[in-house]
């Protein structure tokens, strides 16, 4: 079937693919290696490998505090942005909505602009309104940033719901409130869950925007950034491995849910 040129092209492109996977996964591979094997004069000592660093994590107080901060910020930003996103999506989808282009522009703007712009705009606004920088301002920044993700997923699903679904529900005597509760809302669970998972992973890793908004209490990426000049100890590498493994797990779950529900429509 395939000609020689095609076969050569596929093999070459496959080689580029393998190279791409190798370079993009190299960072996590190196972190994993350095969490198990101690460095001896710059080279990892492959005879002295152990998982001791993972058991010693309890001693890294600063790091664990930053980790907790990141989880709290991510959770708060995820929940608040999801509520905002669902209200906005329902409003924009409704027949009585006005100012739809305005609302969507406001929702998408922080996601399209580089984080440095969103960050400095919020910083200038906070200073103009005399608000101290803290974890709360970080949450506000993250809400603004990740809202677009959940909004996009929820509003796409709302727009794809067939009109006959509403009509059938009304024909069977359901009030508009009943239709919303029993017909529309269950359809939004999947995009909402996927959106929230993506929001959390984005917030958890956010660095460029957070640097503008954090006060004395910082998140995990900022703590790691501050530690970078000194170099990462084995404990730090161990923590990072666990964190990345969790994030990847969440991403896989989100993808699985997205695939399963995307097929229904």
């Amino acid at each position: 079937m395939l000609t020689t040129t095609e076969r050569v092209a596929i093999v070459l492109a496959g080689a580029v693919f393998a190279f791409g996977i190798a370079v993009t996964f190299a960072p996590i591979a190196i972190t994993l290696m350095l969490s198990i094997f101690p460095l001896q004069a710059g080279t990892p000592d492959f005879h002295a490998g152990s998982f001791d660093a993972y058991w010693a994590l309890g001693n890294e107080r600063d790091l664990l505090e930053a980790l907790v901060n990141s989880i709290v910020v991510g959770g708060a930003a995820t929940v608040i942005s999801a509520i905002l996103a669902i209200v906005l999506a329902l409003y924009v989808d409704s027949r009585r909505a006005i100012g739809r282009p305005f609302l969507e522009a406001v929702i998408y703007l922080p996601f399209i602009m580089p984080p440095i712009i969103t960050g400095l705009a919020l910083l200038l606004f906070l200073s103009a309104t005399h608000v101290e920088r803290s974890l709360i301002t970080v949450v506000v920044g993250h809400v603004v940033l990740v809202e677009a993700v959940t909004y996009r997923l929820v509003s796409t699903r709302l727009g794809n719901l067939p009109l006959s679904l509403y009509e059938a529900s009304a024909d069977l005597g359901a009030s508009s409130v009943q239709t919303f509760r029993h017909i529309v809302l269950p359809q939004l669970y999947a995009p909402l869950i996927v959106g929230m998972m993506l929001s959390f992973t984005i917030s958890f890793d956010e660095t460029l925007l957070t640097l503008f908004l954090a006060g004395a209490n910082t998140t995990l990426p900022l703590t790691l950034l501050a530690m970078m000049r000194v170099g990462f100890s084995m404990d730090i590498n161990a923590l990072v491995v666990l964190v990345i493994a969790t994030t990847i797990l969440i991403a896989c779950l989100a993808a699985a849910i997205f695939r399963k529900t995307a097929m229904r429509f």
């Binding site: 000609t3 492109a13 712009i117």
Partner: protein
Amino acid sequence: MISTAAPNESAKQTWSGIYTTRARAARAGLFVLVALVPSVLVLLPTLTFVANSFFVVDNGEIVKTFTLSNYATFFRDAEYWNVFINTLWLCFQVALASLILAYPIAWFIWRLPERYRYGLLFLIILPLFMSYVVKLFAIRSILGLDGFLNQFLVFTGFIDRPYMAFLFSRNAIIAAQTIMFLPYMVLPIFLNLERIPPSLIQASSDLGASAGTTFRHIVLPLSLPGVAGGLVFVFIMSLGDYITPQMVGGMTGHTFGRVVWSQFGVTYDWPLGAAFGVVLVLICTTLVAGVGLLSRQRRI
């Protein structure tokens, strides 16, 4: 045509007639209620940001007068202007390097049987969920003087002593950002390739075109909007990234993003930083609008 349009027209009139002033007020009220939070959190900061770009700093205090002096500084000061042009060139190189890697990758995934396609696509996107800071640190430990790349080259005998130039160079920034932004380039190209109807490719080969001809005349032109989208995406991300150039670029890492950031840190000239920020926003919106226009034209 006219007979079907006429009842619609009259229906619309009665519909608008139903609205009393009270209903209209309720409608506006609901809008304000819904739009309030996003407006306060996005619109007001943006307005503050633009307003600040017209202020000046005097003795460490921000003076709220209208002046174009920040913009004049940007255009007149050769140093800022050089950094700016240099940064645009750097971001373009990053986008181009990403494209050279991403196009074959996207094409390869697209050519695979559907069974494997989405799994491998997910594999390419997965690194986006790994920590940005950790990626930076790992790239530093690969490229550094006692880093893994130098050790590997010494070990294999390509060089006889560690070679400094990997880290803290312009190429290090390009390599680091290409690695970090690659998935953002693969995704739009792949999605665009997937939209090409298989019938077009079949028709092309039915008419006797070789695989190369089909690619050149059908696949490549139809995937250009995805390419443009990916280029703009990576370009903007590279433009806004002020940490990578500092961490892997050393002295060469003095990019425009860092100039903006330093106005908010060391230099403490917020209005000047805001003005430079406005310049960045203008570039980004122009690029996004350009690509939007391009893909709309293509679709027709």
